[in-house]
């Protein structure tokens, strides 16, 4: 046995090195496309077509970004921010109320209701966009913020109810029982106890909702025309002043990703729980 030990140690070391090499390949695979897009977005006009492709511009420039802004992209950024902010806020307000009812009052139908809400998310969005489009058209809400905010609120609600219910259930019930003894109402408990305790959970949920709305394409492309077109729809349809301006498209891609990365880094720690919740809880 003792003669075997050193060789096993070498084997382990080789295994570790091999592991790190594999890890490096994995990281390059996931990060390189982002890097390439960034590198393209700061290239000069002539450098897109150079062969072999340049890994980095010889004279980095922000020209592509200024061109994109001159094309009116700022308006679409503003549209996205408005739709995202208001839909996430209303989803959180309505969703946390519903989650309180389900998780803290615990009616007998609590679980069934939560599953019903979640099941709405399974439907292909393409299946309800059609009637929604007709509905919004009849109400003259096409190309207004209202239609987008309403639809995103609804979509985020199903997610917010489900995830906030899980966060609310973690709170020990002694806390609200003692508050009830002190004469607190349900709304009192909701605002004075539940909300303060689950602050980070609520923030994480809000950020999930924001990322969903920011990235959403189908509803945005159908329910908006030119006035309230969102940034993602703009990215999908960008042609620019010249035929194929790789730099400008790359710049748009980077601009569309920066807000998401910022939001994500704000709540990194709680994020993984949010992603895994649907798959692992229950």
């Amino acid at each position: 046995m003792s003669t075997k030990l050193p060789s096993r140690r070498i084997k382990n070391k080789l295994g570790t090195i091999f592991g790190y090499v594999l890890l490096a390949i994995v990281l390059i695979w996931f990060v390189f496309p982002l890097y390439w897009t960034f590198a393209t977005s700061v290239k000069q006009k002539g450098e897109f077509f150079s062969s072999p492709p340049l890994l980095f511009s010889r004279q980095p420039t922000l020209k592509n970004y200024t061109e994109v802004f001159e094309d009116g992209s700022l308006i679409y950024l503003k549209n996205s921010i408005i739709a995202v902010t208001f839909s996430s806020l209303s989803a959180i307000v309505l969703g946390s109320l519903a989650a309180y009812g389900l998780a803290r009052i615990k009616p007998s139908w609590s679980k069934k209701y939560a599953l019903w809400v979640l099941s709405l998310r399974l439907f292909p969005p393409i299946a309800i966009i059609l009637p929604l489009f007709l509905m919004m058209k009849n109400l003259h809400l096409i190309d207004t913020y209202w239609s987008l905010i309403m639809v995103y609120t609804m979509f985020n609600l199903s997610f917010a109810v489900w995830i906030l219910r899980a966060f609310f259930e973690d709170i020990p019930s002694e806390l609200d029982e003692s508050a009830f003894l002190d004469g607190c109402s349900h709304l009192g408990v909701f605002f004075k106890i539940i909300i303060p305790i689950t602050k980070t959970g609520i923030l994480t949920t809000a950020i999930f909702c924001s990322i969903f709305s920011w990235n959403e394409f189908l509803f945005a492309t159908i329910l908006t025309r030119s006035i309230t077109k969102t940034f993602v729809v703009h990215v999908a349809s960008y042609r620019g002043s010249q035929n194929l301006n790789l730099g400008a498209i790359s710049a748009l891609c980077i601009l569309g990703t920066i807000p998401i990365i910022t939001l994500f880094l704000l709540t990194r720690r709680h994020f993984i729980r949010g992603i895994t919740l649907g798959a692992i809880k229950d």
Binding site: W36, L122, I126, L132, F133, N215, G256, T276
Partner: protein, 292 residues
């Protein structure tokens, strides 16, 4: 009794929004699906019974899109599951700077599908894109591959993009499953002299199975509705070789404005989806009972 009654008030506002924006449109859509209704030629709605649903069965382009979607779902899930699981096992060792690695791996799945599609479209361009350049550098191929304009390759490109964006999801969820795994069976197997592979195959994998089924379920549903990459990268082409179900319904509804038929198609694909999901959930239930 009184206690439960209060819950209704808390749930009510959310329920109203949902009923208004999901249930009402669905009922209305069912109504429309029995009518001939094209808003491009400002046609009035006329009742035609189940004609729209009958047409689905004769619609070759629709069944072609079903085949494309099934290919994407099956191959996409298999690839993402294998790769995602492998990466999760790789990360499940005590690594330095694990948090930073996780952040980097998570980034693709947070990005907008439209943005991801645009990024890859640029990289896959022949002559100017970097993918062909690297392949030539590694001597995988000598010529310029037309990723998006050759019919066999175009659907492969869609798979590639989806693989890049969504493998991280499989990895992160599987990792969480590995972390929450009870340690005693693993240690018992190790004491009994099982090799690393045996432990994975006979202990970890069965324990992970319920989670993996949920992951496959979520990924299948998502790939089933794949739309953005098709719109941005191929527009269903060349020919109809990359038309997915969502893209086809999208075209019928909003390119040809054949609203009645699109409504019928929407219902049809939702029914297919519920059947598949029902099957998944049944097998998941069986799995869970087996575990108990």
């Amino acid at each position: 009794m009184k206690k439960q009654y209060a819950a209704v008030w808390f749930v009510l506002p959310a329920t109203i929004i949902i009923l208004l924006l999901v249930i009402y449109p669905m009922v209305y859509s069912l109504f429309v699906s029995f009518h001939s209704y094209n808003i491009a030629i400002s046609q009035k709605m006329t009742f035609i019974g189940i004609e729209n649903f009958k047409n689905i069965f004769l619609d070759g382009r629709f069944w072609n899109s079903i085949i494309n979607t099934v290919i994407l779902v099956v191959v996409g899930c298999a690839l993402q599951l294998t790769l995602g699981l492998a990466i999760a096992l790789l990360l499940n060792q005590k690594l330095r700077s694990e948090a930073a690695i996780k952040v980097l791996i998570l980034l693709p799945m947070l990005m907008a599908p439209v943005v991801v599609a645009q990024m890859w479209k640029i990289m896959l361009q022949p002559n100017i894109g970097c993918v062909n350049y690297f392949l030539q550098l590694l001597h995988v191929t000598g010529q310029e591959i037309e990723w998006l304009t050759k019919s066999r390759l175009a659907i492969f490109s869609l798979l590639l993009v989806d693989l890049w964006q969504w493998t991280p999801f499989v990895t992160i969820v599987t990792l969480a499953g590995l972390y929450s795994m009870p340690t005693s069976p693993l240690e018992a197997a190790r004491v009994d002299g099982a090799s690393g592979f045996q432990i994975f195959r006979y202990v970890s994998l069965p324990l992970l199975k319920p989670i993996l089924i949920v992951v496959v379920l979520i990924r299948s549903i998502d790939i089933y509705r794949l739309l953005e990459a098709v719109v941005v990268m191929t527009e269903g082409g060349p020919g109809f070789s990359t038309e997915t179900v969502s893209f086809y319904v999208f075209s019928v509804g909003f390119k040809y404005f054949n609203i009645g038929y699109a409504a019928a198609l929407s219902y049809f694909i939702s029914i297919i989806l519920s059947l598949v999901v029902g099957f998944f959930i049944n097998s998941l239930n069986r799995e869970m009972r087996g575990a108990l």
